[in-house]
């Protein structure tokens, strides 16, 4: 069978295999079995999958030398690696506190990537003590969009309801990506069961925001959103119409029948027609 592997890669692979196969098989049990050397080897592989697996295996490893490696992963270009590093650090409370303070300071950075990474780490810590500094950062006009989106996503990850006012304000951000993230983040907050801001966002100028808005009100089964959702069945974006139909099915209000039937029978998109038909069957 033909292979596309280059000769150079084959050589590298053979060398790696020779090294790897000279050591005993790793334990299959999760959460144990890592070491400083194995973490370093995984980091050297630059395989996010391998790094994640090895860091997970070091869950309870007490290893002073590991701290430096894990701290460096905070600025890894792959979010998944940053996230697993934060998870590992969060299990070492004093280290978490130190890194948390460092990340809060970084939120003020003019460097958007630094600020983004800080928001990612604070979000992955999942601790509500980060809500206030992240909210303050979002209040800054000079925070780069990439960091603003990360900050909103961090509030979603933390999931604490005290973030609701910040996210509500972010649904009106000038940047559409921030608004999208904010409308989506609201449904991640524990104990938040309805959002007038998400309802308002159904008429946002950006289709992505409108899509998240109809999904969020559908997620909440927000009865007060029915009329707005019926309007969204006529949206210019097919995915907004599809999800508006789905949301009306979630509401289950038979008053939506006429609007859904019109979508089922007349929408230009086969997908919208199908979802509308299923939504009608979900009406009470």
């Amino acid at each position: 069978m033909k292979t596309t592997m280059t000769t150079k890669k084959k050589t590298v692979l053979a060398a790696l295999l020779a090294t790897c196969l000279s050591v005993p098989a790793a334990s299959v049990w999760a959460g144990t079995g890592s070491s400083l050397g194995k973490i370093q080897q995984a980091v050297d592989s630059n395989s996010p999958d391998a790094i994640m697996a090895e860091v997970e295996r070091a869950e309870k490893l007490v290893c002073g030398g590991c701290g430096v490696i894990l701290t460096n992963l905070i600025d890894h270009p792959d979010y998944r690696v940053r996230e697993v590093a934060a998870w590992w650090i969060a299990k070492r409370p004093a280290m978490r506190t130190r890194i948390r303070n460092l990340m809060v300071e970084r939120l003020t950075s003019a460097n958007g990537v630094y600020a983004r990474n800080a928001a990612d780490i604070l979000g992955a810590f999942m601790h509500p003590d980060a809500v206030a500094p992240i909210s303050a950062a979002l209040g800054r006009a000079d925070l780069e969009p990439v960091a603003r989106v990360a900050a909103v996503n961090a509030l979603a990850f933390i999931g604490h309801k005290v973030a609701l006012p910040t996210l509500a304000a972010a649904t009106k951000d000038a940047d559409a990506q921030v608004r999208r993230a904010a409308v989506a983040a609201i449904r991640e907050l524990r104990e938040v069961t309805v959002s007038a801001d998400a309802r308002s966002a159904i008429s946002d100028s950006d289709a992505g925001v409108r899509l998240e808005a109809v999904q969020t009100v559908g997620f909440f089964k927000d009865a007060a959103a029915r009329v707005a959702l019926e309007g969204a069945l006529r949206d210019g974006d097919a995915r907004v119409r599809e999800n508006a139909a789905w949301a009306l099915g979630e509401l289950g209000d038979r008053a939506a029948f006429t609007a859904l039937a019109a979508a089922r029978d007349g929408d230009a998109s086969v997908v919208v027609r199908g979802i509308a038909a299923a939504a009608i069957r979900n009406l009470k």
Binding site: M1, T3, V12, L13, L17, C20, L21, A26, V28, W29, A30, G31, T32, G33, S35, S45, N46, S47, P48, D49, A50, M52, A53, E56, R57, E59, K60, L61, V62, C63, G64, G65, C66, G67, W87, A90, R92, A94, M95, R98, F125, M126, H127, P128, I158, G159, H160, V162, R187, R190, T216, G218, E242, W246, V270, V271, G274, I275, R281, N282
Partner: protein
């Protein structure tokens, strides 16, 4: 697809054997063709998923790794000369999993389309037409909204069963596995048009890769993750997502850590992939499992002994199998498999900058006959295009007669257990606990491997060995059998759950698969007396105080530390001496290696730094839970300084009875009534033995509960403002 990229490999003329470390040319192309034709006789074609090659999907429970470029193809007939047809024609989409309908005319699949952030479920006819709308081309979409839906399969009665991140319990977050951190995938079912969507009860971790058995039930892999148990095991569940039963692998009985992608070969026999949980790109050994009448009787045959069962790299010529679909004689089956050569292991491949190359093969009598491989892409999940008999529709599970909203949980006789003999009369109560994880806002529960626990209550074991309770629906439940001192004598080391109105009543957990557990009034004293109601609204599932009557969780700092401050720290205060032994650890992972001396201390002050790894847990948590657990970690860089005392942990997580701390405190009899004069162990009781102030029965029980629930530092009571 460009024709030039196709590698129709029968002309290569080799069949790769599985003999150790060897490629053997055992046949010519005509041999391969003839054997393939013979085995696949009557099969009109093969349908398979083509995905962009990737290396970021090592974890077997990873279900949403997106790389654009995927589609579903048919190869008709299933041979080198077959015609390759793109069924889905997505642009920049990705296909995660699929199933073929009973009449072999359409497929259901999970895909993420360009511009979407979620995987959703679609159906499409194999000829590319829309099965929902006559005369239309393309797929019909069955799910929408902000959640992900994966692993769809057809089940009898015009329904589809799949997995979803959507949460069944309103206004609560979906579970996030504490270890792997992903939003968990749970069971869902809906009509063929997507309507009447029903969500199944939740496990604390993922459920993946369902398949249909010929009796109409669904076989799936469940991540059993409770304390040190961390494995993917096979479970049966009815298509209505009730009546979950163990199938293979529980209690560490599997031949590997996890078993995934099981498919029935014939009644009672399945083929599956056996592998480690991580780094194996969801690929591993091919195994055949005879399920037997009981889970304890199930056993597996390794069809590919050279393939590693752990997460070490596989050899060239050995590789790993991604999935398998049985074809041919069911008594002597062959398999359509997806296989990749070389080291199918993410770390090694990552270092080399490579991805595995899965292609489609016929696996027959220990040999692989190549069918199709595009070396630039993955080809996985091959299914023979042939009609199959639709199994009977499994009748909806009977509702329990006590509650439409709660789960009836219990057992006919707790002494009937495959987990070992229990002396008659020793079991007094069953402790029932709810599980939670990272989704409630914590990354950490303390120095042990246990997730969050909430004690819902304890239920008496009746003289006939029965017990019954009504518990919240859709909530993972952990059960322990208690002796008269409130200590666990058996722990069911898996989470179980059920939907509203359903029952989880053992005989059911380790019983004969063919047996029917009928729970009727009069068959058990617990039923005759009526189940104890342990249902509580979420807001009430946390301690209002730490009395026996009110305790739910045991937050170390709030529940235990005040007791230690009042009754322990006058002696156990970190001052080296007979009451406080010291030991010295050397961390060899830092240069120069740094010694840290730790002295037994039950105060609530922060633990020593050890380079930040332990601090801000209290010294009392470290002293009771930590030391030997830290040292016994495989590959730990910590070493005991020469001449140092050996550190010791005083709590055995999930077993108060085996915990030296609890033996010291010597629990008093709790059931049927508290008797301070009857103690669990025939030893001195601490701290009275040294003139200290005795702990009350409730205080001793708190320590017992802490140990039995896993020795966590963090409980729900530490997560303020969540309303739980």
């Amino acid at each position: 697809m460009r024709k030039s990229k196709r590698r129709l490999v029968s002309g290569i003329g080799i069949a790769l054997t599985l003999l150790p470390g060897a490629f053997l040319a055992t046949g010519c192309s005509s041999d391969s063709d003839s054997r393939t034709s013979e085995v696949l006789k009557g099969v009109q074609g093969v349908v398979f998923i083509q995905r962009t090659k990737r290396g970021g999907m090592g974890d077997i429970f990873q279900y949403a790794d997106y790389a654009p470029g995927g589609n579903i193809f048919t190869l008709t007939p299933p041979s080198a000369d077959g015609k390759l047809t793109n069924v889905t024609n997505m642009v920049n989409g990705d296909v995660q999993a699929m199933d073929l309908s009973f009449d072999a005319k359409e497929i259901v699949y999970s895909a993420r389309e360009e511009g979407s952030s979620d995987y959703h479920i679609y159906r499409i006819n194999l000829d590319g037409s829309n099965p929902c709308m006559e005369g239309q081309r393309g797929a019909c979409k069955l799910t929408s909204g902000p959640d992900t839906y994966v692993y769809p399969i057809y089940v009898p009665g015009g329904r589809i069963v799949a997995m979803t991140t959507r949460v069944v319990e309103a206004n609560t977050p979906q579970f996030r596995d504490e270890y792997e951190r992903g939003v968990t995938a749970q069971l869902v079912s809906f009509n063929l048009d997507g309507s009447d969507l029903k969500l199944g009860p939740r496990n604390l971790s993922h459920r993946v890769s369902p398949a249909l058995a010929s009796d109409g039930r669904v076989l799936m892999t469940q991540w059993d993750h409770l304390g040190n148990v961390n494995e993917g095991n096979l479970m049966f569940v009815n298509p209505d997502m009730s009546t979950a039963r163990e199938a293979y692998g529980k209690e560490g009985s599997g031949i590997t850590n996890s078993v995934i992608k099981a498919r029935e070969v014939r009644p009672g026999v399945v083929v599956a992939i056996a592998t480690a949980r991580d780094r194996t790109i969801q690929a591993g050994k091919l195994i055949s499992i005879e399920l037997g009448k009981k889970e304890a009787d199930a056993h597996a045959t390794d069809l590919t002994p050279q393939v590693p069962g752990g997460n070490e790299p596989s050899f060239n010529g050995v590789g790993r199998y991604y999935d398998a679909y049985p074809v041919g004689d069911v008594m002597k089956p062959s398999f359509l498999v997806s296989w990749a050569d070389g080291p199918v292991q993410s770390e090694i491949l990552g270092q080399a900058g490579l991805n595995p190359d899965f292609g489609i093969y016929l696996f027959d009598n220990g040999k692989r006959y190549p069918l199709y491989n595009n070396p630039e892409m993955w080809e996985v999940s091959p299914i023979a295009i042939a009609a199959r008999k639709e199994p009977p529709t499994v009748a909806p599970s009977a509702k329990n007669t006590f509650s439409d909203t709660n789960v009836l949980m219990g057992a006919l006789d707790v002494y009937q257990s495959s987990l070992g003999a229990i002396a008659p009369g020793t079991a007094k109560m069953v402790r029932i606990m709810e599980g939670f994880s990272a989704e409630e806002g914590t990354r950490d529960f303390g120095l042990t491997m246990f997730d969050g626990h909430v004690r819902l209550g304890e239920v008496p074991v009746q003289p006939d060995g029965s017990f019954a309770a009504l518990v919240p629906a859709n909530v993972p439940i952990h059960q322990q059998l208690l002796d008269e001192f409130g200590m666990a004598i058996r722990t069911e080391n898996v989470w179980v759950s059920a939907g509203p109105g359903q029952s989880r009543f053992c005989g059911g957990c380790h019983e004969d698969r063919g047996a029917t557990t009928i729970v009727q009034p009069g068959v058990a004293q617990a039923i005759a007396l009526g189940p104890v109601n342990l249902d509580l609204a979420r807001a009430l599932r946390k301690s209002t105080d730490y009395s026996y009557a009110a305790v739910k969780g045991v937050p170390w700092d709030k529940a235990l530390q005040p007791i230690m401050d009042a009754k322990c720290v006058s002696c156990h205060n970190g001052t080296p001496g007979p009451a406080n032994y010291s030991y010295t650890l050397i961390d060899t992972s830092v240069m120069p290696a740094t010694p840290t001396t730790i002295t037994f201390d039950l105060r609530g002050i922060a633990a020593p730094m050890l380079d930040e790894n332990l601090s801000t847990y209290s010294m009392s948590h470290l002293s009771l839970i930590g030391p030997d657990r830290i040292l016994s970690e495989p590959n730990s860089p910590l070493e005991l300084a020469p001449g140092s005392a050996m550190p010791k942990s005083f709590v055995t997580p999930s077993s108060a009875r085996e915990s030296d701390l609890i033996k010291k405190l010597n629990p008093v009899r709790m059931y049927p009534t508290v008797d301070m004069n009857v103690r669990a162990f025939n030893t001195a009781t601490h701290p009275q033995d040294v003139g200290g102030t005795a702990l009350t029965a409730d205080e001793i029980y708190l320590f017992t509960l802490m140990a039995d629930m896993g020795g966590q530092f963090i409980s729900r009571e530490n997560l303020p403002g969540n309303g739980y």
